[in-house]
Structures are given as C-alpha cells and as structure tokens.
C-alpha cells in the first residue's frame, strides 16, 4: 500500500512543480491565458524549465534525493507566495449542458482505465527498460555518466528528466503517472483551444478523438514519452496562436522554450522548432523576434547536443554515425535499426493506414478506425485555424515514415483530430463520431476487430494500482522480464555487469545489463559470444596471398569489391610470413583500419573468437593496414576469416618509398580450416577479459540451446534458472 502512496506523491509533487514553474513564467511574460488554459499550458511550459533544471543537477552530479525533492518544493512555494499558483484568467463562454455532459462522461470513463493503469506497477518493455532504466542508473550515481553500453542513453530525454524526480520519490509508477499528466494536459489544452477559437464542440471532439484513441491510452499510461511530446508540440502551436493574437514580445520566450523542448523530448519533434521559428518570422517579419525564439529554443537544445558531443563524440547520437564517426555507435547497427523502424514488417506501405487504424499488430497499437476519416480533415482548409493545424500536423508527421510504429503518430494526432473535428463542425455529427470512437476504443471492444496481438489496454488494474495485489507478485506473474531482472539481482554480485542477448527491464535491476545490439561495445561482446557457437562466425576460411619476397615497411589488405547490403569486410586474424615463418607481432608495429579503426587490434590478437569488422556494407577502399616501423621481407599474407560474406575482392598492397600504394598480390587462394576445438572457451575468455563474467540467456535466445546443453565446454557454470532464462558465470576463462 505504501508503494501506491509514494507513487502518487512522487507524481503529484512533480506535476505540481511543473505547473508552479510554468505559472511563474506565464505571469512573468504576461501571457494572457484564460482560466481553462492556465493549468495545461503552464504545466507543459513549466516542464520545459524544470527539465533543464534536472539536467543541470545531473550534469553537476548533485542529483541526490534531498536536492531533487528540494528542487520540486521551491517553485511550488514560490508560486504560492507570488500568487501564481491560483487558477486565474478570463473565462471563456460557458459551455452548453449537452457538451458538458457528453465530454465529461466519455472523459471520465477512459480516465478511470488510464489512471489505474498508470498507477499500477510499470510493466512496459521500453518503460521498464531504458526510459526508467537510465533514470534509475542516474539516480544511483547522482548524475549523468558516460554510458558506452546503451545507445538509448544518447537520445534526448526531456520528458524522462521529469520522470527523474518522480522516480526518486515514488519509483516506476510515479514516472508513468507523470506521463499520464502530460496526456491529461494535452486533452485539456485541446479542449481549451476549441473554446478560444469559439468552437467548443471542435475542441471537445478533437480532445476526445486523441484521448480515447487506443494507442494513446496505453502509451500515455506507461513510462514512454510520446504523449509528452504531443503535449509539448501542441503547446508550441497554442502559444504561437496566442502570440499571433496579442503580439506580446515576451511571449516569444515560452514559445522558444517549448520549441526547443520538442527537440529535448524527442529528436523527431525538432520540426516543431522549425515551425515556431518559421511562423514567427512569417508573421512578424522581424529578425529580432525570430532570433529571440531561436535563442530560447537553443537554451533547451544545446545541453543535449553538448552532452552527446562530449560523451558519444556525436552530437546527434545514436544517429548519423557515418558522418560523425565514433567508437560507440556502429553504422551497420544504426542501419539495421533504421531499416527495422522504417518497415516493422509492413512491406506494402499502402496497408499502413489499415494497420495503424484497425489492426495494430505489426506497428504496435492502433489509433482507432475513426482515423480512416482523416482525409476529411482537408475540409478544414476553409478555416484559417484549420490551415494552420494541418500545416503543423503535416510537418510533425514528416519524420513518421522513418519510424512507422503507431505510437509515432501520436505527436501529430492533436492537429489532425482538431482539423477533422473542424471539418465536420456540426455538433450532432461530432457526437456520433465520438460515440463510435469511444465504443470502438473501449478495451473490451478492441479485440472484436483488431488483431489479437495489438498493443492495447485490456482491463482496469485497480487492485494492482492500490497494491492490493502486491507489486512483486503481479510483476512476477505478468511481466516475464521482471522475474529475470530480480533473479539477476539475487544471484549476481552487486555492481557487476551482465551480458544479455535481448532487452530486459533494467529499471528493476541494479545491475548494468549489456544488451547485444545497444552499442558498439555490446556489438563486440555479442559477436564474441556468437563466435562460440555459430559456425558461420568462426574463422574457418583462410585467404592466402603469395607473392615474390618483397621488402616492405607498410602493407595493407585492400578491399575493392562492392558488398550487397549489410555484407561486411571481416578479419579474425591477419598474419604476415616470410619463407613460411610468421613475422612475430612487434610492439613497434602500427595498425590501422578503415572503417572502424578502433577495433583493428582484434585482427592481431591471436584470438579466433574476436575479429575486426567493417560494421558497414563493404565498398572499395576499406583496408587493414600494418606499418612494421622498419623494412621486413614478406612473401605471404594470410587472412583468417569466416564464410559469411562472398562478394568481396581483396588484394595486398605495399607502400612505396614515395608513399604511394602498389599492388603486390591479388587472386588469393582460399582454404577451409577447422575452427579450434575450444572455440567456446576462447569466447568466454574474451568476455572475461572485457569484464564480463555473467551472461543471462533466455531459452529462446540465439545460442541458448548450445550453452544449455554443455555449459562446461564454454567454461560456464549455470548459477540460476527460472522465468524461461538461465544465468551463467564464467568459471574457467
């Protein structure tokens, strides 16, 4: 029961601090907000400021619980003292009774489902994975730290910065409740917007179209951030509309803050910053106003860019690794990740509208069949407000095709929902549409038409929320990864990292869980592990170049072929010979490779379990280069590699005294060689050498069966088993 209380308290304190901070800024810049606009817009604006304060605490590494809690208390006290806490402002025209009743009935029904779900123990994969996993990690070390094992640590995390204080007080559910507060604020802002433009039914309908949408319901009641992004993006639009009405220059400050906060919350929402700057430039025709908005946006953006530049050597990590070369993110991994997000199993993009509105399986959730009517929103072009809504909506929709997950539509939904409502306008028709949408979106109705496996809410979790069903019991029975995370904490010594093939809810573990694909470092670990059991990754292919004995100081193996997509240049070992005797590797040698220069030593370490990989599709010009530091006679080069590439062409080149490369051998001979008998031991020894002594394998993971059948051959000992997983310890590296 106490867990439930602290969860509520943590969320309430965070939301109150956001509102208080925002209300102070709103009063300071004299924003003419109506009474019903004050809470939602102040909350979101305050969130932007508070997120920056939390960022500062983490950057300064002073994010201790008392400091964090104090940071919440100060703005609340200050706002109460200054009188900003009060809900003030002019009132809009009173609402008609039918509208009030209709809106409140639907809103209340769905609020009960959403609120209890948010309050219940967090069991979402990404929420309990990286969103809160990183928050928990920062809380343990009281600040940011260089995380080279998790690419998600490089994403901007503006909404998660608010999960931080909530989590510090009330743990996981607190964070989900804060996200839910963003959703409520969004619905309230949309409702208020309708009243501001004199179309209360449009505002109500737009708000409910979004609020009731199935994917919004589940996303907004877990510790994700999409509904937060939607609320921020819509607040930018809202403040711009108010500024356009009153032209108060001070309003450019919150506009800039919120525009920058869009980037801070999610990279793809950066387009709203472009919209804000463009809108102000277009409407004011003044450079000063445009610069003011840009500068305020930069205040929110620059810290995130700087953090990535410092920690990841890439200002927009984990993306654009091909431009911003760095040792922490791999081009191939990024490409595979992007390819997956672009497709998500939807090969025919024409089926996407049906997938995201009705089926909801491949793309993870559905926005509801009513959104098949979205083209009707074009009729809103006859209104000025409609044109602006559609423009902003289209802009924020632009990045969607790079990630076709249904939840990535959430940020543009408010704009299209309002435009759709505006296009229809006639209250009885709107009421009918809403009634259909509400019924179709009710948890027990969705399975009647959507895919059985669509991502959605399915029941009211009130017993779980108030912890009448204990949190631990609920999670162990309903969230497989939770049991594994607890098993790790119970069996692995404190502070020791654990390698995993697939993601686990690290927010429920105090251990660092290194997931195979989540960084370059983890990629290498996974490659080593897989070399132990996967023959296609073992050095069973020897490429031999023989040529007349040549004195060389610097020599390289150059790749000149064009690989098919994702076909890489790889080398387990490169060896040089003279008269059949290998040149011993000398510390004076200097080794280079392109691309991925950071791993070149893996081709010269004498280990069959490690290899250098280009980690991007092979193209002419890739090489592995050795400078002997003196002239050596060489008549043979051997490259031990695997059989998992075919289209590459290799040649050996030596550098002339005039520093030009000259080809000395091509058309190599290929031999099949056996993999070492102890290849698994080699793999576990390499893992141990990199500080990895514990491996968690789920029974369905690649390679799990091989370890399970003979852990001794790996040098492993099985130390725990349960929840469909096993934990191994490296005992004989």
């Amino acid at each position: 029961m106490w867990q439930a209380f602290w969860a509520l308290l943590g969320a309430a304190a965070t939301v109150a601090a956001c509102y208080a901070t925002g209300a102070l800024v709103v009063d300071r810049v004299k924003a003419p907000l109506a009474r019903t606009e004050r809470f939602p817009l102040s909350f979101v604006l305050g969130a932007s400021v508070l997120h920056l304060i939390m960022f500062a605490l983490l950057a300064l590494k002073i994010a201790y619980r008392p400091v964090v809690v104090g940071t919440l208390v100060v703005p609340i006290a200050w706002a109460i003292w200054k009188g900003s806490w009060k809900l003030k402002g002019e009132s809009f025209e009173p609402l008609s009774q039918p509208l009030k009743s209709f809106y409140s009935t639907i809103f209340t029904a769905f609020t009960i489902v959403y609120f209890f779900h948010a309050w219940a123990p967090e069991s979402s994969p990404d929420g309990a994975g990286y969103h809160l996993g990183l928050v928990a990690r920062y809380l343990r070390v009281h600040g940011f730290e260089k995380v080279i094992t998790n690419m998600y640590a490089s994403l901007s995390a503006g909404v998660e910065m608010l999960y931080f204080p909530a989590f510090a007080i009330g743990k996981h559910s607190s964070a989900a409740l804060v996200h839910y507060a963003f959703l409520v604020a969004l619905a309230m802002a949309m409702f208020a917007y309708g009243r501001r433009i004199g179309k209360p039914w449009v505002g109500a309908a737009g708000a409910l179209l979004v609020y009731v949408s199935p994917v919004v319901g589940i996303d907004g009641s877990i510790a994700y951030n999409d509904c937060g992004v939607a609320a921020i993006a819509f607040s930018v639009f809202y403040f711009l509309e108010i500024w356009d009405e009153v032209r108060e220059p001070l309003l450019l400050i919150p506009i800039g803050f919120l525009a920058g906060y869009c980037y801070a919350a999610k990279y793809t929402a950066f387009v709203m910053a472009i919209y804000a700057v463009g809108f102000v430039a277009w409407r004011s025709r003044r450079m000063r106003a445009t610069l003011a908005v840009s500068a305020c946006a930069a205040v929110m953006i620059v810290p995130w860019v700087a953090k990535d530049w410092i920690y990841a050597q890439n200002p927009v990590a984990p993306f654009f690794n091909k431009i911003f070369r760095n040792p922490y993110g791999r081009v191939r991994t990024e490409q595979e990740y992007n390819d997956y997000l672009t497709r998500m199993g939807v090969e025919n993009k024409w089926t996407l509208p049906l997938e995201v509105t009705v089926r909801g399986e491949k793309t993870g959730g559905l926005i509801g069949p009513i959104f098949l009517l979205a083209p009707v929103a074009l009729l809103a072009l006859r209104f000025r407000e409609g044109r602006r809504l559609l423009l902003a909506g289209l802009l924020i929709l632009t990045p969607y095709l790079a990630n076709v997950g249904t939840r990535f539509l959430i940020p543009c939904l408010p704009f299209f929902a309002l435009a759709l409502a505006m296009a229809v306008s006639w209250p009885p028709a709107l009421a009918a549409i809403l009634l259909f949408h509400a019924v179709a979106s009710w948890p027990s109705v969705i399975p009647r038409y959507a895919s059985k496996y669509s991502w959605r809410l399915d029941r009211i979790l009130y017993k779980q929320a108030i912890r009448k069903i204990p949190q631990d019991r609920y999670l162990r029975q309903n969230f497989g990864g939770y049991g594994i995370a607890r098993m790790i904490d119970e069996t692995v010594p404190k502070g020791v990292p654990v390698l995993a093939v697939n993601g686990l809810p690290e927010a429920y573990s105090t251990h660092e869980i290194l997931v195979g694909f989540q960084s370059a470092y983890n990629d290498d670990l996974a490659d080593i592990l897989n070399a132990g059991w996967d023959e296609s990754r073992q050095p069973t292919r020897r490429i031999i170049f023989k040529f007349p004995s040549t004195p060389v100081r610097r020599i390289r193996v150059l790749q000149t072929g064009v690989g098919v997509p994702l076909e890489e240049f790889k080398a387990h070992e490169v060896r040089f010979f003279s008269n059949g005797v290998e040149l011993p590797r000398d510390p004076a040698w200097r080794l280079q490779a392109w691309p991925n220069p950071w791993d070149v030593r893996m081709a010269f370490d004498n280990s069959p379990a490690t290899r250098w990989r280009s980690w991007e599709t092979a193209r002419p010009g890739m090489y592995i280069d050795a400078d002997f530091g003196k002239y050596e006679s060489v008549d043979e080069v051997r490259l031990d590699t695997s059989f998992d590439y075919a289209n590459l062409r290799l040649q050996v080149e030596a550098m002339n005294p005039d520093r030009k490369w000259a080809k000395i051998a091509a058309d190599p001979e290929t031999q099949i060689i056996p993999a070492p008998v102890s290849i698994r031991r080699w793999a576990s020894r390499e893992l141990h050498a990199r500080g990895i002594d514990y491996i968690v394998m789920q029974d369905t993971d690649w390679g799990a069966e091989d370890m399970r059948e003979d852990p001794e051959s790996w040098g492993f000992q099985e130390i725990a088993k349960g929840y469909g997983a096993r934990i191994y310890k490296v005992v004989a590296p």
Partner: protein, 162 residues
C-alpha cells in the same frame, strides 16, 4: 565532412592470446525439459500446451522434435514417471521409445515410480541439421472416471545426448 572524422592514432598490436593447452569437443545435448521456456517450440504432439513446469502429463505418444548437428555417438534419453493412481487401474504398461519412428526399445513397467532410460541411437536414424522426432509411447491410457480425460504418463525431459 572530414572535420567530423574522428580517427584514432594507429595502434600497437595487443597482448597475444595463448592457445588452450587442452580442450574437449562440445558435447551435443538436445534435451527438452518441460521446465524450459521454449519447450513448446519443440513439442509435436500429446503434450498439452502450458507454461513451463518441472513435469507435465503426457498423452499416449508424446513427441518432440530437436535438431542434432551430428548423428555420431547420440543417445536417446528420457526421464518420466508412472503414477500409482493410474497404474492401479491400467495394470502394468509397456513403454516404447522411438527415434524418427524407428523403435529403439520396448520396456514393460509393473511398478509406479520415477524412471530414467537411455540408449545409443544408430547413426543412420538421424539426419544431421534436420528435425529428429523423439517419442515415448505408452500402450494403455488411464481414463478419468469423472470426465473421461485420458492420461498417459508424466514427462520430465526427453532428448538426445552425445
């Protein structure tokens, strides 16, 4: 663009790894434990789908499929139990053990209890890297008087070892 290129200085060769002096080949073991998280992916028939658990009631001829990398030195292995409650009604039962529908052995059991059985599998019965069907068949099923449900025996694990 080149300003974005973040090239490290060339590296010296790392410490050379030494080969293992002794090593033994990996022993293949394709055992399906009823407690494994992926046991259902191996089930073919007569084991009702359910969450992993230490043992499961099986039907007349529970069958699983496994993929063996080799067909050399393989042994069929099974751990199972015959319940007193069923045996007292059915009387002694005969179990037949099969690999890819070849009968490996038939054994008559007259007492209830936990049993382990294993026997070498002729190499020609198994095709490497292809599904191998492993089954244990009981000749008499117990029929529940209340609802007519039919039960064979209790299965704990079944598979191939090397």
């Amino acid at each position: 663009m080149s300003s974005c290129q973040n090239m490290p200085e060339p590296y010296a060769p790392p410490v050379q790894r030494q080969p293992f002096e002794e090593g033994r080949p990996h022993r293949m073991m394709r055992i399906v434990n009823m407690s494994d998280g992926d046991w259902m992916a191996h089930a073919v028939q007569d084991i009702p789908p359910s969450e992993p658990s230490p043992w499961k009631w099986a039907g007349q001829k529970p069958t699983v499929k496994v993929v063996a990398r080799t067909n050399q030195g393989l042994r069929f292995t099974i751990d199972f139990s015959i319940a007193q409650a069923t045996l007292k009604d059915t009387g002694p039962v005969t179990m037949t053990f099969l690999v890819n529908d070849h009968t490996l052995d038939s054994i008559r059991y007259t007492a209830s209890g936990d049993y382990h059985y294993e026997k070498a599998v002729p190499p020609e019965w198994v095709e490497p890297l292809k599904d191998t069907l492993l089954a244990a068949s009981i000749d008499k099923m117990w029929v529940a008087p209340a609802d007519g449900a039919k039960l064979g025996f209790i299965l704990t694990r079944i598979g191939l070892t090397q």
